[in-house]
Symmetry: C2
Subunit: 382 residues, 2 copies
């Protein structure tokens, strides 16, 4: 067993859990161990992270789940808790994210298993090399009695810090479009080509980038980013022949996002037409927004309030396992404030008092759900 599994198991086993590693490497602990036929609430997050990462992205949610089981120890509640530590959420190795949670909803397909890492090892081979059996992946699927999924996670953004709030209920995970655009003009001498005879790719791209920012600002909660700009040939005294730029647009409402992307594409065409450039573009990702479960969002807000904090709802701009789990069961997330909004970086931090509030909120939530018979009877969605 890998060190991280052994460590978490060593916290939980004294409490009376049933620990197993499923066929894609998810850590799964059922508490109490003898309540297999009870309604089951899943609580977890991911164990992996990115290279050169911080100490909280993902694993904090697993640690909080373990802390809840510890705090709960000895109490009688009408459901079991299954703690999950997902094995691969980031997709750092195979370029495909959410491998762990996809196994729970039955979406580990051949494409995923055939994905290769930089060394040419397939995901399937890597699972075998780890001592697991890809043929058993169907056994990793959701248990029939699962009534919901809860995930505690660092916000990874600056919103809660700006509002001076420790916690928030996530009401949706934003949909996302990723595109690339190539503005193509003519390379020319920067000294001898008058302004009106240019087809300057950098000038065209710059005009468009200012429009991208304006479009995002015109829609509340939209974010739009041009993070990559590559100008060719890229010499100070040569008018650029080509500017290749990325576009990342996210919003909670798919129609709003898709409308903005269409408008921006149209604007890029118009700019190129007016400036006598050509335009190439393609869509790399077009992922719909995922709503969290309205009942669980409400319960989380009540629990946040019961912990002495001001309830707050927000949209997650980043993807999470809860987005995958929501395909099959009611799912929701609780965000913890991220100092400086810094994540995926060794400087990533959390405040100890925020973690204490998250555990307090989690305990209130577990008690609230104990009296929600309809929720506990819920069965996996089709």
């Amino acid at each position: 067993m890998h060190n991280v599994y052994r460590e978490i198991a060593s916290w939980l086993e004294p409490l009376g859990v049933n620990v197993r590693i499923d066929a894609v490497g998810n850590f799964r602990a059922l508490y109490p161990r003898d309540r297999k036929s009870d309604p089951r609430l899943l609580i977890g997050s991911h164990l992996d992270t990115v290279p050169n990462a911080g100490r909280y992205d993902g694993i904090l949610g697993v640690v909080i789940a373990a802390a809840l089981i510890e705090a709960w120890h000895g109490e009688k509640l009408p459901y079991a808790v299954e703690l999950i530590g997902f094995s691969d959420e980031e997709g750092a190795r195979f370029g495909v994210p959410f491998i762990g949670s996809r196994a729970l909803v039955g979406r580990v397909d051949d494409d995923l298993l055939n994905s290769q890492d930089a060394a040419g090892t397939s995901a399937e081979q890597a699972i075998e090399n780890f001592g697991l059996h890809p043929a058993d992946i169907p056994d990793a699927g959701l248990h029939a009695n699962v009534c919901g999924y809860l995930e505690f996670h660092v916000e990874q953004g600056p919103v809660l810090e700006q509002l001076a709030l420790p916690l928030a209920a996530v009401e949706a995970i934003a949909g996302q479009t990723r595109m690339k655009f190539a503005f193509r003009g003519r390379a020319n001498h920067a000294g001898t080509t008058p302004m009106h005879l240019r087809a300057d790719a950098v000038a065209a791209a710059a005009e468009w980038i200012t429009i991208v920012e304006k479009e995002a600002n015109a829609h509340p909660e939209m974010v739009a980013t041009v993070g990559s700009v590559i100008a060719s040939p890229g010499a100070a005294n040569v008018i650029a022949k080509e500017a290749r730029v990325s576009l990342d647009v996210r919003h909670r409402t798919d129609d709003v996002r898709v409308g903005a992307v269409e408008k921006l594409t149209e604007q890029a065409k118009q700019i190129c037409s007016r400036r006598r450039l050509s335009l190439n573009y393609s869509t790399l990702l077009n992922q719909p927004a995922v709503a969290m479960d309205p009942f669980l969002i409400e319960q989380i807000e009540i629990a946040i309030g019961a912990s002495g904090c001001k309830p707050y709802r927000m949209v997650s701009g980043a993807g999470h396992d809860a987005m995958i789990m929501a395909e099959k069961v009611p799912a929701a997330m609780i965000f913890l404030r991220t100092p400086g909004g810094i994540s995926h970086d060794p400087a990533e931090a959390v405040l100890a008092e925020d973690v204490a509030k998250a555990i307090e909120c989690g305990m209130h939530l577990l008690h609230q759900l104990a009296s929600e018979a309809d929720f506990l009877k819920g069965t996996p969605r089709a």
Copy 2:
């Protein structure tokens, strides 16, 4: 003797010239050979060009000078012509341009001689390796009787083609400012950072690049170019922390150019202040404009008209040896139309009929100057 020297010498020697290679490798041919004490008109251009270049930049001006001597052969005029093929105008090897013409005006100094090429060979050593003697460089200086310098050159831009004119008189060589700017914000997650909490270096740089273009368009004949843009970290889903951009501004009037550069620098500061970014910038080049000689410009216009073409005056956005020669003697240039404005590229071209017009114009000019006693008596400027 290098092949190019041998080739040009083989055209001229039958006409009765005195050929020599001066101490920086300039090809110099005096015609007629026995008229050393006469007033002397210099006609030439450069023999070098850039890597992966076209066939006309520079050498066309030397070939036209040779054609004029050939056409003139047998006529009696009250001055001699010294044909010059400058050895290094582009600065491709040592990073220092105008080595050939600097030798004529006495500006080959130790800094220039110590400049090294990519292999670590100094200019001084390269001159010795070529079989020349750096100690003789002062002998390459202008002869006391030189009354002026004329240079035929491809325009290297699209202006004459747009106007459907074969020739133009160059009235000035534009001054030039080159700067680099670094817009520095904060890298953040493109999904989790709301628009109002960003310090996006690409968005800031794009706003500024649009202003650069507007500023150039606000001043007739100004050109301003951002040819290089480097965004860091440059990932589609990360807000850029830094955008480094180049600026190249050129204009015939130094005050106008310097004023525009100051305004653009101020605008960059304001954009960074408003967006909570920091700004770093530095000036790499600040080169004043150089006027061509008014008398020679007039004479060129008359000669263009006498050749059946419409006289036209224009500013050169690129630097030329004439700019260096103008420090000491009346200097002027005649531009030939460049198809497509393409230069420094194998696709560089000229029209044969334009070259014929340039030679016709040159012959008119040589005859006109024969009756300008004041011009012929002119001595080198201090």
